[in-house]
């Protein structure tokens, strides 16, 4: 039933926001320990006024929507505008003054969602993305899928006409993305909106973290709320994240402490900087090797316990932390596979992102980061002086292996050092030389350019890397990098984006958003002028079929004409140089571009590179 109610009085709202909203800002999915601290630190939440009186006839439904959304702490709302959410857009601008949240103008809905994806991976809290429910969500859908696979919450607001549909309206708009969202609702009253909006936030932020969608009805937004109406803004308190059952956690600790050669396999284990610290502490307590798929900044790249994946074959006990796809086939047959992951707590069945069933000997369905403090304590209790001596010997062996890998990488980097097109190792090394003493952040995938950034740079802080993409969908990197750079901006960090050219051309309009909103970042193009992965695939298939391999470039190469990325970037307000194919020109170009970024603007270097 549609109930139009009155608007929220601004004074009442401000009182509510002052006493309750601030406490919510920046809150993340919490473990029990963290939740306890939060409750102690913010007792005002319990007394937060949740009922507001409407005292005039000047308020509209979308104003009340902002009364609900603002305390949730969204710093920005990414938007591709459209008529069915004009009411909320106007309320953001004039009712809440376009501050917290501030609108970020995007030229495509996929940009709006992917920016939110990248932003979360730095800031640890979601952005709202406002888009049209029909064609807008269709545009955004791949980015939503990437966030889902990457277990990143994005808070989508979908404009629709529920009460007065027209030819562009949708009966069940979120249905399009339901295979890769965690929860959605289409409220038909302001009371229902309030409850669903807060519930959606809570669900998105409870591990496993994922995107959610709330449809906002056009009429509900634009109608006046009658004077005398009383509305309620529900209190939001973060859910405690699911922790592993204590008996099972103790057993994991026992197996790890008694193992001869335990290895930690980490994927999306560190949700926050605290998670990174926990993993370091656990690894050092056990002197266990750590194998990282680098989907998050889980473990320092130069830590002596950081190991190649080959070490998994030597392990007698492997603890997979939020790595639900680690296969037994990667381990020796006698190894015990332990797993702590929230993956099984929520999944969908249509897309095969869930992979094959993991045959773990001791699986714990829980959030790894929330479980690690208890696991660390259990390990500490079980370590004897005798075991400690064994651990120290293990550390020496692992440290040697780590050093050998570093040495090997140094030698490999020399191959093609002076080549043109540019060696990707050379690009990574030249960049590192100029950023290493700054507060830098790699806001792109590190698995492009033959992993050279990861192999050569000293990744150790949580914001040093946002991890990979989740879905491997092309088109993620450019807008996700801009979103992460947006989050980094207020900390004064130097955001560096190693940008694949194929990915770049899916959403080049992303550049305009970065320039318009003055988001400083350095983008360095991995301009190999092709979808190289696909060149390799077609070459392999042709070879296996005894056919003409020389035709594998058809459909995979975009070199005629060469795309001039520097010109493209300049046309949208960026500082840009290139194409650069002489390695000697690289260092000076980086220096000039960094000077631009440091004065608060985005800069792009079009570097013509080797394929990988």
């Amino acid at each position: 039933m549609h109930q139009e109610k009155g608007s929220v009085d601004r004074r009442s709202f401000l009182k509510a926001a002052a006493t309750s909203g601030a406490a919510f800002v920046g809150s993340q999915a919490l473990g029990a320990q963290q939740a306890e601290q939060a409750a102690t630190a913010a007792p005002a939440q319990a007394d937060a006024p949740t009922v507001v009186e409407i005292t005039n006839d000047e308020k509209h439904g979308s104003d009340f929507m902002m009364d609900v959304l603002k305390p949730l702490g969204f710093e920005y709302v990414t938007i591709n505008p459209h008529s069915d959410s004009g009411g909320l857009q106007e309320s953001i601008i004039n009712y809440t003054g376009n501050k917290s949240p501030e609108l970020i103008t995007c030229l495509h809905e996929e940009v709006a969602v992917a920016m939110a994806h990248g932003y979360f991976k730095i800031e640890g809290k979601p952005l709202a993305a406002l888009m049209y429910s029909s064609v807008g969500l269709q545009h955004a859908s791949m980015a939503v899928y990437s966030a889902f696979c990457d277990r990143v919450p994005v808070y989508m607001l979908l404009g629709n006409r529920v009460w007065n549909p027209d030819s562009r309206s949708v009966r069940d708009p979120a249905g399009l993305a339901r295979d890769f969202t965690k929860w959605d609702d289409q409220p038909v009253s302001l009371e229902q909106f309030a409850a669903s909006a807060v519930r959606a936030y809570a669900i998105a932020m409870t591990p496993p973290l994922m995107p959610v969608a709330i449809t906002i009805d056009q009429k509900l937004q634009e109608s006046r709320i009658p004077k005398g109406t009383t509305l309620r803004v529900p209190k939001y308190t973060p859910n405690a994240a699911p922790e592993g059952e204590s008996g099972a956690v103790t057993e994991v600790a026992r197996l790890l402490v008694n193992a001869e050669f335990p290895v930690l396999a980490v994927e999306r284990a560190a949700r926050t900087a605290a998670g990174l610290d926990y993993i370091i502490e656990l690894a050092e307590l056990l002197q266990a090797g750590v194998v990282d798929t680098i989907q998050r900044m889980n473990f320092p790249s130069r830590h002596p316990l950081s190991q190649d994946a080959a070490v998994l074959r030597e392990a007698d006990v492997v603890l997979a932390l939020e790595q639900p796809l680690l296969s037994r086939s990667a381990l020796k047959s006698s190894a015990k596979l332990l797993s702590i992951s929230s993956f099984d707590l929520f999944t969908r069945s249509n897309y095969w992102h869930f992979g094959e069933y993991q045959e773990a000997d001791l699986p714990i369905a829980a959030d790894a980061e929330a479980t690690l403090p208890a696991l660390i304590e259990a390990v500490k209790r079980l370590i004897t002086p005798d075991r400690k001596r064994t651990f120290e010997a293990r550390r020496a062996k692992l440290a040697e292996a780590h050093q050998r890998t570093r040495e090997r990488n140094r030698v490999l980097a020399t191959h093609g050092w002076d080549a043109s097109p540019l060696s990707t190792a050379r690009i990574a090394a030249e960049l590192w030389e100029q950023i290493k003493d700054k507060d830098w952040s790699l806001v792109s995938r590190s698995d492009g350019m033959s992993d050279w950034a990861w192999r050569l740079w000293d990744f150790k802080k949580y914001h040093h890397h946002i991890g990979q993409s989740g879905s491997l969908g092309i088109g993620y990197s450019n807008p996700a990098a801009v979103g992460a750079a947006l989050a980094n901006r207020k900390y004064g960090r130097l955001s560096v984006n190693l940008q694949n050219d194929g990915d770049f051309m899916f959403l080049p309009g992303t550049l305009w958003t970065a320039a318009h909103h003055q988001i400083p970042m350095l983008t360095v193009m991995h301009n190999n002028r092709m979808y190289n992965q696909e060149v390799m695939v077609v070459a392999r298939i042709a070879a296996e079929r005894n056919r003409d391999v020389s035709r594998c470039h058809y459909g995979n190469v975009f070199d005629k004409p060469f795309i001039n990325y520097a010109q493209l970037a300049k046309s949208m307000g960026w500082y840009a140089e290139g194409p650069i194919d002489n390695p000697r020109e690289l260092a000076p170009a980086i220096r000039r571009a960094l000077a631009v970024v440091e004065r608060g603007e985005p800069a792009l270097l079009d570097t013509v590179t080797q394929p990988n």
Binding site: R410, L412, G416, S423, K436, A539, N612
Partner: protein, 128 residues
């Protein structure tokens, strides 16, 4: 099935100047012995047959293909590996896919490449 013809390759090797297939041949003086046309053709073949996609334009290797710019294989060994690769490399089994002559040119190209510098001589690779 491919049958390696030693006589053919000896002739090809002589034609291309591939007479000393050792590491020492990578020095500039040895490179000078290789027929420049063969090297140039080999460089083109390296692109045409998509070798570069995994190994890089200069054979320097990548995360998906090993470095081959400093190969110690003989021409015959090189051809054997291309025809019947051991690992992930796609098999170019027959001359229908790539001729022995084209392979010999690629080999000449690889042998013409200079040795990579010693990492100790590159300051960027010795910084923290």
């Amino acid at each position: 099935m491919f049958v390696f013809r030693r006589v053919t390759f000896v002739l090809l090797a002589l034609l291309l100047g591939l007479v000393v297939p050792t590491r020492a041949q990578q020095s500039s003086s040895a490179t000078a012995n290789l027929a420049p046309e063969a090297i140039e053709k080999g460089k083109q073949n390296f692109v045409t047959y998509a070798c570069y996609a995994c190994h890089g334009y200069g054979g320097q290797g990548s995360d998906v293909g090993p470095r081959i710019d400093t190969t110690r294989l003989t021409l015959q060994g090189f051809v054997n590996i291309v025809r019947k690769p051991a690992r992930r490399m796609p098999p170019f089994r027959t001359e229908r896919q790539i001729s022995n002559a084209a392979l010999a040119e690629i080999y000449a190209f690889l042998k013409s490449l200079p040795s990579p510098p010693d990492p100790k001589t590159i300051p960027l690779l010795n910084a923290n």
